[in-house]
Symmetry: C2
């Protein structure tokens, strides 16, 4: 079907373990993949040894411990998680809201960490939750700061989504709207991802001033007076900027940027991870 090389085949097997089918028997996999029995078992053996898969006591297979460990590794040494945490806590301490940190992977937006202070949040954003690529404040807060070329490509790819939000009809129009976001330094979205919820997001930059993530806060819509919104927004932007600074961003010609002038020591390798 799709896979040619044996690597692709391994990946294809991994691909089968999805939300609605996280448990497979070898025979089901044989049917699904079309590989011969010995072939499939060979793959399974390798994958189980690597810990990517594990066999359930009751004769089945699932994703294995290696996955959990790798995520742990990433979390543990991700400077973004590390530096972001206090801000997530700070924000949720001030307002009854959900604060989240979302990383941009080029083709995916994934929640990396979150903190909640409302008693019953309207939706949850645990680590690993994928966010829509072209809807919501998070998306825009990042798009607006991409290199023009990348940005335009992304706009083209998600044109219909961006239309329906009302950002503009044509790519240039949309780019214009994003320019606003860029100027403000944050994006606001009303119920684009979750109805009834306002999202405010500001980008986080790495040492090379590339946007790599977004700090976002979501609040139940009826709680916000418009004057408060300004206050919240600038706080979020400030937090995002501080995180960027901690990641070692070099303040280019961004004198307009808010926030203190923390002089940064040379980036320690440990700190540079993921950036």
């Amino acid at each position: 079907m799709s896979g040619q090389s044996s690597l692709d085949k391994l990946i294809a097997i991994l691909d089968l373990f999805t939300e609605d089918h996280l448990e497979w028997t070898p025979d089901a996999l044989i049917k699904a993949t079309g590989y011969a029995r010995p072939t499939l078992y060979r793959y399974l053996k390798t994958m189980k040894e690597a810990g990517l898969l594990t066999s359930l006591p009751g004769a089945g297979l699932t994703l294995g411990p290696r996955v959990v460990e790798m995520d742990y590794l990433m979390r543990k040494s991700d400077p973004l998680v590390h530096h972001g945490r206090p801000y997530l806590e700070g924000l949720t301490a001030t307002w009854p809201a959900t604060a989240l940190l979302v990383r941009w992977y080029g083709r995916r937006l994934l929640c990396i960490d979150s903190e909640v202070s409302t008693t019953n949040p309207l939706s949850s954003y645990p680590r690993g939750r994928p966010m829509p690529l072209a809807r919501g404040a998070i998306s825009r807060s990042i798009m607006a700061f991409l290199p023009r070329k990348t940005m335009m490509a992304m706009i083209e790819e998600n044109l219909s989504d961006l239309n329906s939000i009302g950002l503009g009809a044509t790519p240039p129009e949309i780019a214009e709207s994003l320019k606003q976001v860029r100027k403000q330094g944050y994006a606001i979205a009303y119920g684009e991802v979750t109805p009834g919820v306002v999202g405010i997001a500001a980008p986080v930059f790495d040492a090379a001033s590339t946007p790599i993530a977004s700090l976002c806060m979501t609040i139940a819509g009826n709680l916000i007076a418009s004057d408060k919104l300004d206050q919240i927004s600038s706080r979020i932007r400030q937090c995002a900027d501080e995180i960027s600074d901690k990641l070692g961003r070099i303040r280019a010609n961004d004198t307009e940027m808010a926030g203190g002038d923390v002089p940064l020591e040379t980036a320690d390798p440990k700190e540079r991870k993921f950036t």
Copy 2:
């Protein structure tokens, strides 16, 4: 060196991303693996497309979004996490402690979820943290309930560790000590994993009454009066039993077991996951 098949080579690359080296450049990988440049880049391409790796803006590679998503998948549909959470919260609400749920993967013990209620816990147990296989209450609470054969094999493999804890000098002696644990239904360890911390752990069973996990609580040693310890222990055991029941365990001839007689509906496939 080690890898023969291309699958093994892929895994070998993955293996290189460790705690102390989570960021690699292609050239470093070429040196580390010994593959030719086109070969390595072929691997990288596949792995990046699969999301297992991702390239950092500043020219390097790390583990990719796929890892985070897979862990999310596992967490989201893991009935153990789902059913265990309320108990973790309940336990930490009653005592100033850390409660954790640890899954047994045959060769690894990994923390799956945890909750903390002490202000400054002596050590942390986030999801994904590996636990020692043959030390501490968790380890013993599971070992004691394994089929004899498996148990003896495990004892042999970790003899020196088990010795040093004082469980016994020879395998049969150790087995005898574990019999005690089995009778009690829980294990206690004094500072075996973290000095100054007492751990109390009880096993969690799947539908087929195979031990698959352990519910554990750790408390700073000086906080415990020995009469309280009994109380805590039986509560933990009770919680673990209730979790087992929710996972669909069939109460075999375990009339001695504590806890209510919740009659269980037939295991819904969704619930059977991971068990």
